[in-house]
């Protein structure tokens, strides 16, 4: 074994505790980084695999069958230069009833799950063979606990045909059941029996995966070639993939951000430790040099002491990160009915090892060079000089605070070494910032859900089947004594230049401003021709608030003016909201099918909904408005909780390390103080005060950093959903809450101080002073 390794192993034996601290923080940081990087590599895998296996469609287009014939549609694959196509299949949104629940499913008439494009994979049961049978999307079945053999009643026509569930299919178009449109399939001949009107769906696949602008061109080519209004709606694979991956993408954003913070905290801890070792080992460094160690070898002994625990931490941390990523990757694979595959990504594991090692190397080498540059004589004389307490202005000021002497001494000790104090404060800062973020996230997500699902803030929402007229719904609602406000909404689709797919149109009738849809900038529409839209629509259409543009609704051009940016995550921000009178300019026959009802104060929303439902149980669906429970948010909150715990632990380790160094360096002073009569409790209080000062500094700095990170990441989250975050979702902190979080920094520091303080209190005075 070389002299260098002998020295490294010897030092590690002597500094076992510090080695364990380093291995521990590296374990946590490498685990977090691996989790993030593994997810980065594997998050899109399940969808990509399923897309290939099931010959997923790059582009799906829904057509108005009154404007285009199936024969014309048969020519469209050639028009788009598609390598494969499927359809036309009849398709329509159909309302169903099962027990007391009503569902609206996008129902497609298909005689076979096989096709040149968009193969459907049966997860259970069999495919539909005759009228009266239906196959449903598996995620929908799981979410709503629907079983094979259950009977749906179709509410699309007055004779309400019954359909038995014969199979569950996996479709790559399906997102999470609680968030996305869900699908059902019947035989082609069944469709006319379910709804009076339906459209056609075509699915196209291309040799080379097209990008956003190529997809836009293809839709534009279809619109130009077919009669106006023939193209009702289109969906491209990029959007579907984004929707499918949204949970992992959000989790990934946070994981990567906090992985970086964990590495920062690690670097601070390692640098602190190496600086401490250099200070404590001047004499030994001098002796090493005197017996022939080169400067580089001296640096090598210090770096080696850090690298070995780092490797040990990585050996445990990287597999732990991979293991933690399994549930997240499995969740994605399972929703596509794919077998779970171990998410081992050797490249990512290697990359983690590389990143972590590089961070530790830099953190160790920089202070290590300080030791390397010392001359032998200089180092020995530095090491042999009597150790004296350091005087820095901050420490001096703190020592003179009008506090009991042990507390004042402890406060001063915290800043006796400003660099060490700063690095420790950084570790606490990162821990507190993460706690601030994790706390804010919970409240912000609640706002996010409220803004998303309760945005049309109503007490009761009502939906009618096409077969039941709007006027009857209105008459029913208006006759209820508790009704305070009714806003009805009709849906549609609009083509906007430079936006790939037609966007959703929500057209309101009534005083829609009172629904409280969050307006990010500008104002809510107040007249005909005025619209509001979320960020994704505005950005893709290159529109600003105040701009005029021309949209196409049902092939009819319509002049519109953007008066506001709103928060609306439906279709990832591809939506335009307007008054019904505006929609009527292009689509005069549009009639609302949704009704948002605000009740008078004190009304019972459930009783109201039950009463409305009883007036026409078959064709109305009424329920008290409740934000759904979204599994993705649960996943996110859990991940953040784990991250906050990880970073808090790293902070605890950082404080522990610093106080250990401080108490060892100050062992003589502590012994003197004990000889002068400082009691063990006073020694404990002195060391704890050091920790409190560091914790307070880190905590106070961590608050604004945490709030800023919260703001930035929530904006990033909203961006993923094609929106800007409403200000209300960002202003979730209050002064008492923040004060409590700052105290968390103190708690973290005290936790880290526990052992060093006890050890200091047990200093054996006679031994320490005798060894001087």
């Amino acid at each position: 074994m070389s002299a260098l390794l002998t020295k490294v192993f010897g030092d590690l034996r002597r500094r076992r505790l510090q080695g364990v601290v380093i291995a521990f923080v590296i374990l946590l940081a490498s685990g977090t980084t691996t989790l993030g990087l593994t997810l980065l590599q594997t998050s899109s895998d399940p969808w990509d695999r399923a897309f290939e296996v099931q010959k997923g469609a790059h582009l799906q287009v829904y057509f108005d069958r009154h404007k285009v014939a199936p024969e014309q549609l048969a020519t469209t694959p050639g028009l788009l230069a598609a390598s494969a196509a499927a359809g036309p299949w009849p398709a329509a949104g159909v309302g169903y009833e099962l027990g007391t629940h009503k569902y609206r499913l996008l129902t497609v008439g298909r005689n076979s799950p096989q096709a040149g494009v968009e193969v459907l994979r049966l997860a259970s049961g069999r495919w539909v063979q005759r009228a009266g049978e239906v196959v449903i999307a598996r995620s929908f079945a799981d979410f709503n606990h629907v079983r094979l053999g259950d009977r749906f009643t179709s509410l699309g026509t007055l004779d309400k045909p019954s359909l038995v569930v014969v199979g569950e299919a996996v479709d790559i178009d399906e997102g999470a059941a609680e968030l996305s449109t869900q699908f059902a399939w019947v035989t082609e001949s069944q469709m006319p029996l379910l709804v009076p009107d339906w459209g056609y769906k075509m699915a196209y696949r291309f040799t080379r995966a097209p990008n956003d602008s190529e997809l836009r061109d293809k839709v534009a080519r279809l619109e130009a070639a077919l009669p106006p209004g023939a193209v009702q709606f289109s969906l491209n694979y990029l959007l579907l993939k984004r929707v499918f991956n949204i949970t992992n993408q959000i989790v990934l954003t946070f994981l990567l951000a906090f992985g970086v913070f964990a590495l920062l905290a690690c670097a601070a801890t390692v640098a602190n430790l190496v600086i401490g070792i250099v200070i404590a080992s001047y004499r030994e460094i001098g002796i090493l040099k005197a017996i022939g160690f080169t400067p580089l070898q001296v640096v090598g002994t210090l770096v080696g002491q850090m690298l070995l625990p780092t490797l040990a931490g990585c050996i445990l941390g990287i597999p732990a990160g991979i293991a933690l990523s399994i549930p997240l990757v499995d969740r994605a694979a399972a929703s596509l009915g794919l077998p779970s595959e171990p998410p081992f990504a050797p490249a990512m594991a290697g990359l983690t090892l590389l990143i972590v090692t590089a961070v530790v190397l830099v953190a160790a080498v920089v202070p290590g060079f300080r030791a390397g540059r010392l001359t032998a004589v200089g180092a020995i004389s530095l090491g042999s000089a009597p150790t004296s307490s350091r005087r820095t202005p901050a420490a001096g000021w703190l020592r003179r605070l009008p506090l009991p002497r042990p507390l004042a001494l402890g406060a001063g000790d915290a800043f006796a070494r400003p660099l060490r104090a700063a690095l420790t404060a950084v570790a606490v800062l990162v821990g507190v910032a993460t706690l601030v973020f994790a706390t804010g996230l919970h409240s912000s997500m609640q706002h996010f859900v409220d803004a998303t699902f309760g945005s049309r803030t109503s007490d009761v929402s009502v939906q009618r089947a096409n077969a039941y007229p709007d006027r009857k719904v209105m008459a029913t609602l208006e006759s209820q004594p508790e009704t305070a406000l009714i806003v009805a909404a009709a849906g549609g689709a609009m083509t906007i230049p430079s936006v790939a797919d037609p966007v959703n149109v929500v057209a309101y009738r009534g005083d829609s401003a009172r629904l409280g849809v969050p307006v990010i900038r500008g104002r809510w529409f107040s007249g005909q021709g005025e619209v509001v839209a979320p960020r994704a629509t505005l950005e893709e259409a290159h529109l600003q608030v105040g701009d005029h543009f021309q949209g196409l609704i049902g092939g009819q051009p319509i002049q519109l003016r953007v008066v506001g940016e709103i928060f609306a995550v439906n279709n990832l921000g591809h939506e335009v909201d307007m008054d019904l009178s505006t929609l009527a300019q292009a689509a005069p026959d549009s009639v609302p099918t949704y009704y948002f009802v605000r009740l008078k104060p004190g009304s019972d929303a459930d009783a109201y909904a039950r009463r409305v439902l009883a007036t026409e149980p078959d064709f109305l669906d009424a329920s008290a408005s409740q934000p759904p429970s979204i599994s993705a948010i649960g996943v996110l909150n859990s991940v953040m909780l784990v991250l906050a715990a990880v970073l808090a632990l790293i902070a605890v380790a950082g404080v522990f390390n610093t106080l250990l160094l401080n108490t060892r360096e100050r062992a003589r002073d502590t012994a003197v103080l004990k000889a002068l009569g400082m009691t063990p409790a006073q020694v404990l209080a002195m060391v704890a005060t050091s920790a409190v000062v560091l914790g307070t500094a880190g905590g106070l700095l961590g608050l604004p950093v945490g709030v800023a990170i919260h703001r930035a990441l929530m904006q990033a989250l909203a961006s993923i959903a094609g929106n800007n975050m409403p200000e209300g979702a960002l202003r979730v902190f209050n002064a008492p809450g923040l004060a409590l979080l700052a105290l968390a920094g103190v708690a973290v520091a005290l936790l880290g101080a526990l052992l060093p303080a006890r050890w200091a209190a047990r200093t054996r005075v006679a031994e320490v002073l005798h060894s001087e």
């Binding site: 006796a416 009569g677 063990p680």
Partner: protein
Amino acid sequence: MTRLVEMTEVRKVYDGGAEHPALNGVALGIDRGEFVAVMGPSGSGKSTLLNLIAGLDRPTSGRVVVDGRDLGRAGEAELARYRRDRVGFVFQFFNLLGSLTVLENVMVPAQLAGRSRAAARGRAQELLQKLGIADQAHRYPARLSGGQQQRAAIARALVNQPLLLLADEPTGALDTRSGEQVMDLLVDLNRGGQTVLLVTHDAKLATRYARRVVSLIDGRVADDVVLQPSAAQPADVVRIRVEEAAG
């Protein structure tokens, strides 16, 4: 005079040193107002004896009673209070806290004892004045000469008006002149009624300033001589006796 320190059959064995106890059956009594020098060669057990009387360590067997308090039975906190209130400690290397000024160093034991800042300050200033280093009060120890540092350390040791002043080789790190000044100071204090226990390996120093010299060899009291003021060459007497005891 009344008895201040009473050591009875004190034995102290460090870990793994059962065959060579640091103290082996030491019996020693010190009265209030005495100036006792404990001397002996390196490893004779004099520092151990001092540590036991200072309450920094506990005997393996036997009793160490100071001012009626059995130190072997006292808890850590009680020992700390004892050191703070009853004992003043002067070290060979001064052991002043480098981050505090001279005045602050002297104030520390008083503040630890719960005295107000103002009271501690007043007492510290009074002592610094008395010891002739009032002009150094606001300087840091590193800026002071060895003699000045030791005076500051003595002031610190006296701030709580201890019953017993323990001095461990107080001149060991000083030049001759500074050493003499420090010893004169201890003598002055003793004349004022302060009990002083001096540990030294320097026979001349012990016999010149102390009124009683206890010699330790291999953990046992080899000699215990009260020096008469008329003794012509006390140092020689003591040295001969120690050499005889050693054998």
